[in-house]
Structure formats: C-alpha cells, structure tokens
C-alpha cells in the first residue's frame, strides 16, 4: 500500500502483481536483491543472508542495505502481531485497495478465510 502511494506521489507505475508472483518485476530498483535479503532474513537463512548482504552492500550501498534489513526485521514482528490478533484491514484502506488486493491475491491472507482454511471440519484446531 505504501509502495502504491509512493508510486502515485512520484508518477511511477509499479506492477503490484509481481509482489506476490516472483515471475515478474515490480519495477523497484534492486528488487531482486531486496527479495533475497527479505526472504533470507524472515526465513532465518543466515548463511544465505551473509552472501546476499555483501552483494547488496556492493550494489545498493551500505546504508540502503541496512535500511532494507531493518524494515525486514520490523515486519518479521509486525506481521506476527497481525497473525496473532486477527486484526482486520483498516476500513478506509480496504475501500481504496479493492483492485490492488484482487490483482495481487492478498485477500487470501484475510483472517476469516485463513481460519476456515486451517481449522478442521469440526471447528477444532
């Protein structure tokens, strides 16, 4: 959502579908490295991260790499809070992101849908 808002501010068009589909490009500079940094950081792949981090510092710069990893670390906790509390999308955000959520398929992360998907037929867990 922030990426979409950022694109509107700068007049840049991003392919948000590629956020949830790694066969395409979003249109963000160094996005391949950013993806690899994020994946390694949130999946605890520290050996992989060491190499990617060096590549990223070379390609993007030290500060940018630290910034990216700091955001990844923060969201490693933030998404857990959302997962653990079933917090709904903000009303206004929901109203203005109908198309984007449809295109990216992120509605499948809706907590009611997820609860139905991962609960057993008798409602137990």
């Amino acid at each position: 959502m922030l990426l979409r808002a950022s694109g509107e501010q700068t007049g840049t068009e991003y392919d948000l579908n590629a956020v949830t589909n790694d066969t395409g490009d979003v249109g963000v500079e160094h996005e391949s490295l950013l993806r690899e940094l994020t994946e390694a950081a949130i999946r605890n792949r520290w050996d992989d991260l060491e190499g990617v981090r060096l590549c990223a510092m070379q390609a993007m710069g030290e500060q940018e790499t630290v910034d990216a990893l700091t955001v990844a670390a923060a969201f490693n906790g933030i998404t857990r809070v959302a997962d653990a509390t079933g917090i709904p999308l903000d009303e206004q955000t929901a109203a203005t992101t109908v198309e984007m959520r449809d295109v990216t398929g992120i509605d499948r992360f809706d907590y009611a849908q997820k609860s139905a998907r991962y609960s057993t037929a008798d409602g137990s867990w």
């Binding site: 808002a5 991260l49 997962d83 653990a84």
Partner: protein, 205 residues
C-alpha cells in the same frame, strides 16, 4: 531487552523472560519443524522442546507464534483464551514474542549473536488493562480511535497499532520497536485500570 524483564500486566518478570526463552527455543523445536513441513499444523501432534516451566498450552502458543504464525486460527485462539489465558495475558504474550522476534532479527541480519536474556526483575504483575475498548472484528478488543487519515491516505492510527491496545504497556513495548515502520509511534496513550485477576493454576489471567 530490559523492559521485557520487568513485571508486566499479567506475567511476572521471570515469566516474561521465560516467554522470551521459549520464543528462541521454538526455532530448534522438533515438533515445530515437523508442523511447518506438514500440510496442516494440526496434523502433527507431540510435545514441544520446551525451555521453561511455563504451562504446555502457553509453550504451544509461543512456539506456534514464533515458527508458524500464518496458520494461527480463530478457533485456536478461542480455545486458548477460553480456559488457559486471559485476553490481557495473551496480548502481553504476543507483544513479548513479537518484539523479541524483531530484536533477535536485528541482531541476526548483520551476523551478530542474539543478546543474552535479561535477569528477571522481582515484583507483581500490575493487572492494568484498558477499560474503554471496542470490537472491530479482531480477536482482541481494541482501543477506540479517530478514523482520520494522513497525507498518504493511510489511517493516522492504523488497526495494527491498536491490535494489542487492550494492554497499553504491551502496545507501547511493541510500538517502541516497530513504530517507525508502521506509524505505531502515534499510538495514543489511554489510561488503564486494574482488573481483578482470576487465573487458573499456572496461567496468568
């Protein structure tokens, strides 16, 4: 991590440090690893490799939140708070685990060892929870908030910033670690009142 070691709202300092220890232990837990690989986490039963004397249901909650949060369900939450934990104890636990995840990840990503766990601070839990809450469809009741927007079109107080606001100290602890990223730093302060505790043995309410 000094704030984590202080007595909380539902948990003592020792219990809060034990929660942090469990969150770390979950990464090497055989049951958790088997569940991650399974099509459904509920298909695999067993005993967690626990690092504390916390009740089994609490250990299970911490390990699931640390290793497989995307498959937590409302039914699981309902069963946990029905007879194991109060809503406030759950909110505080989520805050502790999720802030510890952020802190540990911040150490891990530059290749640093994680910080040693702090020594617990003696004292009793305060019992302070927010009285004036509202149901917005989340699993926990949350504080009321204005629906105004920032200049980016995003809410000035996003729902994620209210997720643990039933326990203002839990929300504040998390905000201190994530606020720059989510806008949680605008989390408004509200007065909390002390509620009587009625926990089952071994579990804070």
């Amino acid at each position: 991590m000094g704030r984590h070691a202080q007595p909380g709202v539902s948990w003592t300092g020792a219990e809060r440090v034990a929660i942090l220890a469990e969150a770390r232990a979950a990464l090497d837990c055989e049951l958790c690893n088997a569940r991650i690989s399974a099509l459904s986490p509920n298909a695999v039963q067993g005993v967690h490799d626990a690092a504390s004397a916390l009740p089994a249901a609490v250990v299970d909650g911490i390990h699931r939140l640390r290793t497989d949060p995307q498959r937590l369900t409302r039914a699981w939450f309902d069963s946990l708070v029905e007879d194991q934990l109060s809503l406030a104890a759950y909110a505080e636990l989520v805050s502790l685990v999720c802030t510890s995840v952020i802190i540990d990840t911040q150490h891990n990503v530059p290749g640093l060892p994680v910080a040693p766990l702090p020594d617990p601070v003696d004292g009793e839990p305060s019992g302070d929870v927010l009285d004036d809450t509202v149901d917005i469809g989340a699993w926990l009741p949350v504080m009321k908030a204005e629906a105004d927007l920032t200049d980016t079109g995003l809410p000035s107080v996003p729902n994620i910033a209210r997720a643990m606001s039933l326990v203002p100290r839990a929300a504040a602890l998390f905000s201190a670690r994530s606020g720059h990223t989510t806008g949680c730093s605008r989390f408004p302060s509200r007065s909390a009142r002390r509620r009587p505790s009625s926990s089952p043995p071994g579990c804070p309410r």
